[in-house]
């Protein structure tokens, strides 16, 4: 199964709802090791995305994701603005001209997005960042693409990989971002950015399930 343009917009709306529901949770995680704004920032950004996508009309997925990226860059505020903004912009260039999202195109686009995030933020694995959940998710998507799995199954494996990656950040000492100023005190807390990656993928999976049901 595939997601068409409306399906992808539905998935992004689901992401917005999930981030609104988890606003306090993300902010609580961020108040332990950061500046306590991740939930507020992500919620504000994706509400703006919702407004923008509702007002727009789109001929291809590239245009949808470009609007998402530009909106997040302008409205999120913290590091996640440029990071998620870059991710969606890089994804949009991979999806230009496409009207349907399938497993191979999703895997390629998310991999491109991850490369953009790493180039900008220069985080490595185990630095206690979003890269720790996004990298295993990309690997899962690529594996699913090479095995010819449908989108829903591919997303299921990506969500599980992201969950494991997210949980793996708990014992780590942060080496990037605001949390790195805390040094050893950052250990014992789950990274908010790794968590928002998991929430975003989970919301997209839910939409994929509804669309096939």
């Amino acid at each position: 199964m595939k997601l068409d343009i409306q399906g992808v917009i539905k998935a992004l709306d689901a992401v917005g709802r999930s981030l609104a529901e988890n606003k306090d949770y993300l902010t609580e995680l961020d108040s332990a090791i950061g500046d306590a704004d991740h939930g507020i920032n992500m919620n504000r950004g994706f509400q703006k995305v919702h407004d923008r996508l509702t007002a727009g009309s789109y001929a291809d997925l590239g245009a949808v994701l470009k609007d998402v990226g530009m909106t997040l860059m302008g409205s999120v505020g913290g590091a996640s603005g440029p990071l998620y903004g870059t991710m969606f912009m890089k994804m949009s260039s991979r999806l230009a001209g496409r009207e349907e999202l399938d497993t191979p195109s999703l895997a390629e686009a998310v991999e491109e997005g991850l490369k953009g995030i790493v180039a900008l933020g220069r985080a490595n694995l185990q630095d206690k960042t979003m890269v720790d959940s996004l990298t295993p998710a990309v690997e899962a998507l690529k594996r699913a693409a090479s095995e010819g799995l449908p989108l829903e199954a591919a997303l299921e494996s990506a969500v599980e990989a992201a969950r494991t990656g997210m949980e793996s950040t708990i014992p780590l000492v942060a080496r990037k971002g605001r949390a790195s100023y805390l040094g050893e005190r950052s250990a014992g807390h789950q990274d908010p950015g790794a968590t928002s990656v998991f929430l975003i993928l989970s919301a997209i999976l839910e939409t994929a399930r509804e669309e096939t049901a």
């Binding site: 704004d37 920032n41 530009m70 409205s75 999120v76 440029p82 900008l120 990037k176 971002g177």
Partner: protein, 131 residues
Amino acid sequence: MNGILVLSHSAQAARGIAEIASQMGGPDVPIAACGGTEDGGLGTSVTEVLAALEDLLSRAEGVLVVPDLGSAVLTARTALEILGERANRVMIADGPILEGAFMAAVAALMGGSLEGLAAVVEEAAGLKKLP
């Protein structure tokens, strides 16, 4: 003449630091301030930085961005990526925001190169205030 963009998470801090730097640079050095989110909170916006850079580049040879903390750097880098070729006339400085912007304004007034401005911001990290 090179210009300076003061980029802080706080709109008030950015404006205040730009004001202090402008006192040294005088009316000839283009100095702008960016900071805060659309709804008045703490943060930085790629869109706002992009607009400020485009404005400064229209009246300065080059622009030195002086950011405060980590994510301001990411915002500046992302804006440079979007600027494309024009980003060749922009550098991001690594040093204390207030002392750095202040020293860079002096260097700009004296006709310093963009690299020269970036160097004084780095040197500002070692500025001694108590004799």
